[in-house]
């Protein structure tokens, strides 16, 4: 984890209010693991005051990629950056997905909803490298909300799409699509990132079938490095359960440890 004050924004790709940034940041790219995040400064002024936590979409020797959706003032300001602009970021932070837990020669399910797809591209690539076959389930409300489907396909990754309105792929929730697949096949592990209701439903589906699962939780964060205790979620531990910092012990937790509201 390091502070990079002037990472160069190399590449911007936009689909409506979804954005993919390619950023030159070798120190972060070398260290990053799937499921980790960076804290990005959006303004040089005092408003918005805080950095924004964004999941790492991909990483390589030269830097990282981010994928985000404009959700408020901070991401809106960030979305106006152009290639050549500088970005101030801290990372990589947090504990990501466990790659080895799936096992070589096995299949893993990766379920992403909306902007929650962000870390699953990096995860799918790393799983492939480790000999695990990733199957990606990618859902959104409509075709416009699943802009990364081509990217997965171009990388040779199997991606099954769903839209709530039936405009593309399976008509319905991505949880139903993944649930049907789980009826036919038992993957070694299911990884998920998306809205809480989506992950809560998947937690119930996987627990019922005895499939191990890992979920990436999201929260507003003050610092991202464990100092402010602002981003807690109810997590089970040896002594019962308590408020645990998402930024430090997470953002990825095993399904059986998460207490859903």
């Amino acid at each position: 984890m390091t502070i990079v004050r002037d990472a160069r924004l190399r590449e911007v790709q936009a689909w409506g209010d979804f954005f993919r940034f390619g950023i030159d940041a070798p120190a972060v790219g070398r260290e990053a693991r799937p499921g980790q995040f960076v804290m990005v400064k959006v303004a040089g002024a005092t408003e918005p005051l805080l950095r924004r936590p964004l999941g790492i979409h991909d990483a390589a020797e030269g830097g990282i990629e981010l994928f985000f959706r404009v959700a408020g003032k901070g991401t809106e300001i960030l979305s106006r950056k152009r290639p050549g602009d500088r970005i101030d970021l801290v990372g990589p932070l947090g504990r990501g997905f466990s790659i080895s837990a799936a096992g070589a020669g096995r299949t893993a399910y990766l379920v992403g909803g909306g902007r929650g797809i962000a870390p699953l591209y990096f995860l799918a690539r790393e799983l492939s490298k480790a000999g695990t076959k990733p199957v990606v389930f990618y859902g959104g409300r409509s075709l416009a909300e699943i802009p990364l489907r081509d990217r997965f396909e171009k990388a040779g990754l199997e991606v099954r799409c769903s839209t709530d309105d039936g405009s593309f792929g399976f008509a319905g929730f991505v949880t139903d699509l993944a649930g049907q697949a789980l009826d036919a096949e038992r993957p070694a592990l299911l990884y998920a990132c998306g809205p809480d209701p989506m992950m809560k439903a998947l937690a119930a589906i996987t627990a019922k079938r005895g499939v191990p699962a890992e979920f990436s939780l999201e929260s507003v964060m003050g610092c991202g490095i464990g100092a402010c205790w602002g981003c807690v979620h109810r997590i089970r531990n040896d002594r019962g359960d308590g408020w645990v910092k998402i930024c430090e012990e997470g953002p990825v937790f095993p399904g059986e440890r998460i207490v859903w509201p």
């Binding site: 005092t46 801290v90 003050g222 610092c223 408020w243």
Partner: protein
Amino acid sequence: MAMTPGGIDLSADLGFLKLRNPVLTASGTFGYGLEFGPYLGLEKLGGIVVKGLYYGPREGNPPPRLVETASGLINAIGLQGVGVEAFAAKVLPKLRDADTAVIVNICGADDDEYAAVVGFLDGQDGIAAYELNISCPNVKKEGACPALSPRSTFDLVKRIKAASRRPVITKLSPNVTSIVEIAQAAEEAGTDAVALVNTFLAMAVDLETRRPKLGNVYGGLSGPAIKPIALRMVHQVASRLRVPVIGMGGIMTGTDALEFLVAGAAAVEVGTATFVDPDAAVRIVDGIGRWCESHGVAAVRDVVGTLEIS
């Protein structure tokens, strides 16, 4: 060293404690200190004030615990923490190796618990002073805390001063009619210094759901939004007290810190800025040094309390 490469003397003097420079980290914004190892050298700071400690572990408030507001941040963490025994076993031994002044912020549900925390920590080495947290707005209903009345402030400070073998800094709440009266009560009770201000009791509303944005309904506002009010309070208190004042509230830069020193603070604490930049406190130390160099100030101590009012 307390000297910058340009030969400026950055040292600060609280009387009971000499500091390498006047910049401390504010409690609740710097964890227990060790979290910051990857981002800054603790030896570059005047000192650190670690997160408030109750005797036992404490669960804290339900989320959401943070909401960003105009140039500010409202928090309602509720002093979640590990308690003194875990702190002494796991954190303090490592902080002893760091070459910086360690100030421990102490809390209590009642006066007896404050005394018990001090009693335990008095048996531990490696602590320079206690910061008596009588002003957290997030642990009792509607921000209630001892710092809201001169009487309860006097009684608690008196008791802790009598019990403690170490200097006591009393951290004051701005959520009072007259912070000077409270500061004077702490001084009469024998406090070695006062620190101000803690956060301003505040709230944020989600208009669409018509619900509070914080799980605890109310929280404490910090950040640049509160700086002008904090500065005024520091000036008022420093003008009337004999004991040193540690100033804080929205300090983001070296020049912000210097404004508090000019208003009468002998040292400052940096809080919310650390969330934005993990190395903010060190950048602020550097900023103070640069300002002194460019303004021909040989020792930063010399600017303390130099506000001119014609």
